[in-house]
């Protein structure tokens, strides 16, 4: 009976979705036709030339950009770029040289030569940070999406974690449960938890697991991080309800080797190296990188949450060092292949291996310290990447990524005693050590091995129709088989643990268009999600008096569609409007569909996906240049209207010993807010970045079944850091100590307004207001190969909290040495 109703539901829903998708695509096609005219309106001309350095040597891989067209110079320094007829500012940039601008005027169908001669420049000159990757950053940020592109160039030579970089980004709040390596959640414009998806090079991060994550990957291995808020472009295919963070690893255009080591407070040691080699004749390319992180995280904690409980139950407030919080991770990646050859722009096969160990000092709150609880994870990821422009036919780009990953993780918690903050066994009234109430530090004793095999395959086609139209088709198939073995359970119990295998297919289609001399850029997209979960629970069957173990199999197959658009319009070159909107979805997780036999949560096969209607509207203004002052500014507002939120009802009368309620689609929340960012530079010495984000994430169920308005309706949800400000100030002294050297001084602050952590407005359940300040300095030696950085974090040793009752590190010092060789 179950099966038939379920089947009916599915068919019904499928028909509904198909209809909706049809609607979306008809609008889509209509737009295609109406806009096709624009592509004919501005015939192109060709600008070509050669880029050379001061000595007259050709400079390969220089970026030439004008009117949103980008070209790269070849190995011989030559380049060619097609531009619409008219006047353009053609900007030539390349790492290590000063940017050069050439004004070009081109007739329809005309040809023009513009040669560039570039001047070397020193690292540390601010413009490099701003200009060198401007093209990609700006290209992404002006498409219309609410996206921030985080450049890692400066951070790479300093003592920074990737999570710290993200945390300073407007609209992003990183909440970490302690020091380096501890658990992290991300909040994007008021949406968090599993509504934020993380990708590495466009592949869901779950392919890699905990050991290769934003906790372990150093900024030096990252090219850039793209943070999409609310609306996610088609090529990042996953059911990301509230946003996506895409980490783009270093692509390496030129032969180089960089290496760094850093050491600092809490015995924190970090090293990373990355290298790339390319044989210019055969195109054979090798890329390799590796990292190592370790920290004792034995920072001091104090205050009302740090207390030892005396045998009689009274508190003894103490100042103590964390003692079970060490973290270590190591990883590396090797890719072999060919670049810029006839049959491929890129072809790589690769291996990525990583391993970590993470001690866990406490649970949700630090009021009870743990000893001996830790996790270890490992991942072996094999990959194949292929990319080719003009694939089979002209103007068709084809990308293919295939990955197979073997992930394993173990959670160990077997220590049976209570510990105090000095790492000693707590004793009871009788003088004997006290057993933990649930058998081990956090729960029942466990040595739980969880193994996952993850396969991820992604194929994409980009087809350019003329200069102004592009169609993007993307498909991702993702499959994960998971099994677990808790070695603390008996053999029988272990053989009766079910399995959950999940597979997802997500197809997305997008149409990108430019019009009015590229002043208008639009991107329309639709996504179709299919998720299948196979559940197998072993059961005992009695037949003819014989008891046998049988496998009870059920599967859930859900499909749904989402769609959205992004557009930008440059009213003037320095005033741009940006809007994006998406009907975003999140598919229910395996636990939400099938419940959990361990926690007696019953299944709900008919549970629906969560839906959120997301909207962003913003403007980017500037840069305005007056003498040596330069100012740019952006502000945007957003709405996240989430429905069918998956929550679990509580019913005290059900027998918790037997079963508890399933998950249901009951909740509604809304998040409305805005964020702003200003960037000011003076001459080539001073730069100031200031950003702020403020939102109201509110309970959005208005009436109870009797028509009475809920008390919380439109009230801020508890435990949301809703108001943050970040600032970064940088000053450069050139040639202060040595000729051709540069000394950079940095100052940062982060402000988080206090917030309540429960619906009760009690001071005790409110976080303190935070204002954390950091200082840094880096020195570039004249040979341009060596950079030394020193950082002092949380200089006033303030109590810092991302999560309620979890203190983060106090004052800390770090020193880092970086070494780079190019063109060896």
């Amino acid at each position: 009976m179950y099966a038939t109703t379920y089947f009916k539901n599915r068919v019904g829903r499928n028909l509904g979705y198909s209809r909706r998708i049809l609607q979306v695509w008809s609008i889509f096609l209509l737009l295609c036709f109406t806009c096709a005219a624009y592509s004919q309106s501005a015939p192109d001309g060709i600008v070509s030339g050669i880029v050379r350095d001061e000595q007259g040597n050709p400079v390969p891989k220089a970026t030439l950009q004008a009117a949103n067209k980008i070209a790269l110079s070849n190995d011989d320094g030559s380049y060619q770029v097609k531009l619409p007829a008219g006047s353009h500012r053609l900007v030539c940039t390349v790492t290590g040289y000063e940017a050069v601008v050439s004004q070009v005027r081109i007739k329809p169908g005309g040809q023009l030569t513009a040669n560039f001669s570039l001047k070397n420049k020193a690292y540390g000159e601010m413009e490099e940070v701003v200009v060198s990757k401007l093209s990609e950053k700006k290209n992404l940020e002006t498409q219309g999406f609410a996206v921030n592109v985080i450049e890692t160039k400066e951070a790479a030579v300093r003592n920074f974690q990737t999570n710290e970089l993200l945390d300073r980004t407007v609209g992003v709040r990183v909440r970490q449960n302690g020091g380096l390596g501890s658990a992290v959640t991300y909040n994007l414009n008021g949406m968090s938890g599993n509504s934020v998806r993380i990708f590495i090079d466009g592949i869901p991060i779950s392919t890699y697991g905990a050991s290769f994550s934003l906790n372990s990957i150093p900024p030096a291995l990252i090219e850039r991080i793209e943070v999409y808020k609310g609306v996610i472009p088609a090529h990042l295919a996953d059911d990301a309800l509230g946003g996506a963070i895409n980490v783009v690893l270093k692509k390496g255009m030129r032969k180089n080797l960089t290496a760094s080591v850093s050491y600092g407070s809490f015995n924190t040691f970090q090293a990373s190296a990355t290298s790339m080699f390319r044989n210019s004749k055969s195109g054979f390319t090798v890329k390799a990188s590796g990292f190592y992180n370790s920290s004792d995280n034995d920072y001091e904690v104090w205050g009302k949450f740090v207390r030892n409980i005396l045998p009689n139950g009274r508190y003894d407030y103490v100042r103590a060092r964390r003692f079970n919080d060490a973290y270590r991770s190591v990883g590396g990646q090797v890719e072999l292949g060919f670049t810029d050859v006839k049959w491929a722009d890129q072809f790589f096969i690769g291996y990525n291996g990583s391993d970590d160990h993470n001690d866990i000092q406490h649970g949700t709150y630090m009021s009870i310290p743990y000893k001996g609880r830790f996790t270890e994870s490992q991942a072996h990821v094999f990959s194949l990447n292929y990319r080719k422009y003009d694939f089979i036919i002209r103007n068709l780009e084809f990308t293919l990524n295939g990955m197979y990953s073997d992930r394993s993780q173990v959670v160990v918690d077997t220590v049976r005693w209570n510990y105090n903050w000095f790492g000693e066994k707590s004793v009871g009234l009788s003088g004997d050590p006290i057993l933990r109430p649930s058998g081990a530090q956090q729960g029942a004793p466990t040595i739980n091995h969880i193994n996952r095999n993850v396969g991820t395959f992604r194929a994409g086609f980009n087809y350019d129709i003329g200069e102004n139209h592009r169609i993007v088709l993307n498909h991702i198939f993702y499959t994960i088989d998971r099994n677990q073995q808790d070695l603390m359970k008996s053999e029988i119990e272990r053989s009766f643990i079910g399995t959950r295998d999940l597979s997802k297919n997500i197809t997305s289609l997008a149409y990108e268009m430019k019009a009015f001399d590229s002043k208008l850029r639009t991107n329309l997209f639709g996504k179709y999600y299919q998720q299948k979960i196979d559940r197998m629970d072993p059961v005992l069957k009695v037949e003819n008096g014989q008891t046998t173990r049988e496998e009870d199999r059920v599967n859930s197959n859900k499909t749904t569609a989402g769609y959205g658009l992004a557009f930008s319009y440059a009213v003037t070159p320095s005033f741009m409007l940006l809007t994006s909107a998406e009907k975003a979805v999140r598919m229910p997780s395996e636990g939400e569909v099938f419940g959990s036999p361990g926690e007696n949560i019953v299944e709900n096969i008919s549970i629906r996906p969560e839906i959120s209607n997301n909207l962003n509207v913003g403007v980017r203004v500037g840069p305005y240049i007056i003498d040596k002052h330069k100012l740019s500014f952006s502000v945007s507002g957003f709405i996240r209207d989430t429905r069918d939120k998956i929550v679990q009802r509580i019913n005290p009368r059900l027998n918790d010993a037997v079963q508890t309620d399933p998950f249901e689609n009951l909740g509604k929340t809304k998040s409305i807010g805005f964020e702003a960012e200003a960037y000011y530079t003076f001459h080539e010495n001073l730069s100031v970045l200031l950003n702020m984000s403020k939102f109201n994430s509110v309970f959005n169920m208005r009436f109870d079944p009797n028509g009475l308005q809920y008390e919380y309706y439109n009230k801020q949800l508890p435990n949301e850091p809703y108001f943050t400000i970040n600032s970064r100030v940088q000053y450069v002294f050139k040639e202060l100590i040595q000729k051709k050297s540069a000394l950079n001084i940095y100052y940062n602050f982060g402000f988080v307004e206090r917030f309540y952590t429960t619906w009760l407005d009690i001071e005790d359940f409110r976080t303190p207001r935070q204002f954390i300040q950091d200082l840094g300095v880096s020195y570039l030696f004249p040979n341009k190969k060596f950079v030394v950085s020193a950082d002092a974090k949380n200089i006033f040793d303030k109590q810092a909290y991302d999560n309620f009752a979890v203190q983060k590190p106090g004052r800390a010092f770090y020193l880092k040495l970086n070494y780079t060789i190019n063109n060896f």
């Binding site: 707590s426 057993l435 929550v647 005290p652 009760l760 009690i762």
Partner: protein, 444 residues
């Protein structure tokens, strides 16, 4: 306490005599006499705010105190949610009050302060002063302990916990290669000194059932709602039972229930746990967030059952600390309905008790007056609402002959109702102003 209780009884007798012999004109006199018993007793009302779903009570607990006079006056409106004092607890607080109503006791349930016992002085209205000494029992009894106060003159609170239920041959245990014999957890029984705010003592042990029961996979899942016997030398602790299939290790839902069980331990040593089993009741007797067993005037202990396969029963435990199986009081039979489930109940004196219950598998709450001696139950005549749910109810106040209950359907206004345990009269008291999704959970 004993003296206070005797006082109650004495006045009860006086009032009963007056009630029986007097005419209407005597009513003011009766009130006058009662005023003298508990003249300045605060009536503290507790409300539970919703967390994410209406009626879940996970948004925290708010309290507000009014005078007895106001509590009796239906013209008085009280809104704890607007004017009340939020009790420091992440989820619904586990409140108890002193007998004179001047002190409120709470153990915070989960959260950073889970397991923290604190005392609040009741100053009236929304004014409560938290005393600066707290004591934390989480190391012994977890951050979500179950506890009640003993009826011993506000001297002792007892918190209980069962954790880490595992097979005797669990891989991590001492005998991984032994054949299966039982699933057992480690039980903790802890005594709190409520006056000095200290842990007075604790014991931890495994509590075995019979070998046959254990071989079938039965185990004590939770302990709750302890009560002190008449001799004040034993605690009777309610149980919540679970059955796991020894062949799979998984919990079962459709199992045949054993007779209701209680754990008897020595007091005040908390030693020598012993399991007693009823042949009358087949449910759990752990209650939920409140008392579930009471020492009655006749010296015996009366206990309600929940999730009883034959509907809730009131069981009797005699002064030898054994179930009196000759005492059969089925609420299904007494009320003439099926599947009665007692959410919360309270003994009011002289064999009379009041029970908040549901029946027929719905969650709609009703109130019944029980006569433990006559084994009869009558539904109390007050307006009932489909959204009235006593599932999380914790506080029925007995003050003299009067029994106070806060009756509010989820998200709707309601009233305090005052039942006279002697006469059975029902008085509609102060109006309780409610908010969507919230409900009132007690009078203390």
């Amino acid at each position: 306490m004993k003296r206070a209780f005797l006082k109650f009884l004495m006045f009860g007798t006086v009032i009963a005599t007056v009630g029986l012999t007097g005419c209407k004109k005597d009513t003011p006199k009766q009130e006058e006499e009662e005023e003298e018993v508990d003249k300045d007793r605060w009536i503290t009302i507790a409300g539970a705010k919703m967390g994410t779903n209406p009626g879940d009570g996970n948004g925290g607990t708010v309290v507000y105190s009014i005078s007895k006079e106001d509590a009796r006056n239906p013209g008085v409106s009280v809104s704890v949610y607007d004017n009340g004092f939020p009790v420091k607890s992440n989820r619904t607080a586990r409140l108890q009050s002193s007998e004179d109503g001047k002190t409120l006791f709470n153990i915070a349930y989960t959260g950073d302060n889970g397991g923290e016992f604190s005392r609040y002085k009741v100053n009236g209205a929304g004014s409560f002063t938290q005393e600066d000494v707290t004591v934390n029992i989480s190391q012994y009894a977890s951050t979500s302990p179950r506890w009640v106060k003993l009826f011993d003159g506000d001297k002792t609170g007892i918190a209980v916990n069962v954790a880490n239920i595992q097979a005797n041959n669990a891989a991590g245990g001492p005998t991984p290669d032994a054949p299966f014999a039982y699933f057992r957890g480690t039980a903790t029984v802890l005594a709190l000194n409520l006056q000095d705010v200290l842990i007075a003592g604790y014991k931890q042990y495994e509590i075995p059932l019979s070998a046959e029961e254990e071989l079938l996979g039965h185990a004590i899942f939770r302990l709750d709602a302890p009560v002190l016997n008449k001799a004040a030398n034993k605690l009777i602790i309610g149980t919540w039972m679970q059955k796991r299939n020894p062949a799979t290790g998984l919990t079962e839902s459709g199992f045949e229930r054993l007779g209701s069980k209680s754990v008897v331990v020595d007091f005040p040593s908390l030693e020598n746990p012993k399991v007693i089993t009823s042949t009358v009741g087949f449910g759990d007797n752990s209650g939920y967030r409140s008392f579930n067993s009471f020492l009655a005037t006749d010296g015996n202990i009366y206990q309600a059952t929940q999730r009883d396969s034959k509907g809730s029963h009131i069981l009797k435990i005699n002064q030898s600390n054994e179930y009196d199986n000759s005492y059969v009081f089925s609420l299904d039979q007494a009320l003439g309905v099926e599947d009665v489930y007692v959410d919360c109940w309270r003994y009011a004196g002289n064999g009379i008790a009041y029970a908040l219950y549901t029946y027929g598998g719905t969650s709609q709450g009703y109130i019944a007056r029980l006569d433990l001696n006559a084994k009869t139950a009558t539904k109390v005549d007050i307006p009932y609402d489909v959204d009235l749910d006593f599932g999380q109810y914790q506080g029925i106040l007995v003050s003299g002959d009067e029994v106070y209950v806060a009756v509010t359907p989820v998200g709707k206004n309601g009233n305090i109702y005052i039942f006279n345990s002697k006469t059975g009269t029902v008085t509609k008291g102060a109006t309780l102003v409610n908010k969507a999704g919230n409900h009132y959970i007690g009078v203390f």
